[in-house]
């Protein structure tokens, strides 16, 4: 990929709203997973999640009237877009809105809104259903709401590809920029799985941790005693531009998106391909397109499914590609701290990785206590590590064997120097 750069980042996540708040918390290596309080989940096998707090306090033009018409996943996407645009110092009046596009990932849709309307449908008939349902529930609703709020009119897409959705959305956005069809892209994902029906769907698939009594220890990727992931609500959105356009307007230059590759395991409905062959091919292809020498990869942000099938196949794929050097590359799953945002996770992983590049600090995989002989890489256990990262890979995988890999590179010496204080927290 030629000179597509990240110029702005917005995040709404359990550890914080906005990149400063988010980064301040994720480097601490502690958990933001807690029991679900939004509804009675006592009969669910998994009833813990990463939940967003304080969203309603972010106003900025998002009126009560607008919020009545949208689901939580659109609300988070609107706030996150605003954060990204501000971070990028973008005034949309200076952009051609026909050449500005939106690319979003999402898995489940807007069930918090939809569930109450379906209940009313069965209790009261069709007249009981809010007309707002029409534009609130479906996976592309956040794309629509962002476009309406800002008057954005360019080529846009929503990708539904389970946990790989937002990485794909960012890649399609970057490729569209590369082809010259757009000048500015907002790309990322949003997900709101903490609703009765959405959580039921995730539970039914049987990939969620049941460590309900110890939520802070529940999400344990690569640990021998893992028992699945923990879902989280949240959103991550980037602004993408061509390098020369970004330089012309003195935009922040966070990182370059160097390549993307996606393929399928073609193996099983639930389990990943055991030897990780297809994921290895995806990593190889991403490295090839990026022009990265294997020795130059400083960090891998893993999918970290916290299932035996996911963790072992991901580890094998990395070993297949990097050989002996695999054990020297830090491979972490920062999402172990706050949960997996499914269709938004790839975008939040990109943001975490870019912040890691900027601050020279790798966020850890927490809850790593019992090594699994099948998973023998450096997973950056439990505590953040200082490391200079110039080149990194982000891996997202979805149910049914979807693999997605993106390569990123820091631009120049865009590095914020500082040190960790006595509590291990980074201070500049």
């Amino acid at each position: 990929m030629q000179d597509i750069v990240i110029t702005g980042m917005g995040v709404v996540a359990p550890p914080g709203i906005g990149t400063a708040d988010f980064w301040h918390h994720v480097q601490e290596g502690r958990s933001f997973v807690s029991p679900i309080t939004r509804f009675d989940s006592s009969l669910y096998p998994s009833r813990i999640a990463g939940q967003v707090n304080g969203l309603e306090s972010y106003k900025n033009g998002f009126s009560a009237r607008l919020l009545k018409k949208v689901d939580l996943f659109s609300h988070m996407a609107l706030v996150t877009s605003d954060l990204a645009l501000k971070d990028a110092k973008i005034d949309l009046r200076n952009f051609n809105l026909h050449r500005t596009g939106i690319f979003m990932g999402n898995t489940l849709g807007g069930w918090l809104f939809a569930e109450t309307e379906l209940r009313d449908l069965y209790l009261e008939g069709r007249d009981g259903v809010s007309p707002y349902m029409a534009s609130a529930w479906f996976p592309a609703a956040p794309q629509g709401q962002i476009s309406i709020f800002y008057g954005i009119k360019g080529y846009s897409k929503t990708v539904v590809a389970d946990r790989a959705g937002s990485l794909m959305a960012i890649a399609y956005g970057a490729r569209t920029l590369e082809r010259g069809k757009l000048d500015l892209v907002l790309a990322g994902g949003t997900e709101a799985p903490v609703t009765p029906y959405a959580l039921l769907c995730c539970n039914t698939y049987d990939f969620l941790s049941r460590k309900n009594d110890t939520p802070e220890n529940a999400y344990a990727p690569f640990d021998k005693n893992r028992d699945g992931l923990v879902v989280a609500e949240g959103a991550g959105i980037l602004t993408l531009e061509r390098l020369h356009d970004a330089q012309r307007r003195n935009a922040p230059l966070y990182a370059r998106i160097c390549s993307f590759y996606t393929n399928c395991d073609g193996y099983d409905r639930v389990a990943f391909e055991p030897d990780g062959t297809s994921l290895a091919v995806a990593i190889e292809e991403a490295l090839k397109e990026a022009g990265f020498d294997k020795d130059s990869v400083d960090y891998i942000c893993s999918d970290g499914a916290a299932t035996a099938s996911g963790d072992i196949s991901e580890t094998r794929a990395i070993k297949k590609v990097f050989g002996r050097r695999a054990k020297e590359i830090p491979v972490s799953a920062p999402k172990s701290m706050f949960g997996n945002m499914l269709g938004a996770q790839g975008s939040v992983d990109i943001i975490t990785t870019v912040l890691s590049m900027m601050y020279g600090t790798i966020c850890p995989t927490i809850n790593y206590k019992n090594p699994d002989p099948e998973c023998d890489l450096d997973y950056v256990p439990n505590k953040a590590q200082r490391k200079d990262i110039k080149r990194a890979l982000v891996i997202s995988r979805g149910r049914g064997g979807i693999n997605a890999v993106m390569a990123l590179e820091r631009i120049g010496n865009n590095l914020i120097t500082g040190k960790n204080n006595e509590e291990g927290r980074y201070v500049s």
Partner: protein, 79 residues
């Protein structure tokens, strides 16, 4: 409660707008930026509040507060 007062209260509640924003003669789409789903929501609420039915043909003819009040009063007079 007059029809006008009832309609005003309903619009304020459904659209989360201030009383002074509602203009008698202007199109709701112009004065309040009402979109099609909001208009359907207003009509469903009017039907419930005033216990009447507004058919599709009538919906296309109401665009201002005055239109709504006139329609409701004519329906009440005909009942």
């Amino acid at each position: 409660m007059s029809v006008e007062q009832g309609v005003r209260e309903l619009i304020i509640e459904i659209l989360s707008v201030q009383p002074e924003e509602i203009k008698m003669e202007e199109k709701l789409s112009d004065s309040l930026g009402v979109d099609s789903t909001e208009m359907v929501n207003v009509i469903l609420a009017l039907e419930k509040k005033f216990d009447l039915h507004i058919n599709d043909k009538q919906i296309t003819k109401i665009s201002s507060l005055r239109d709504i009040i006139t329609l409701i009063e004519s329906k009440r007079a005909a009942a």
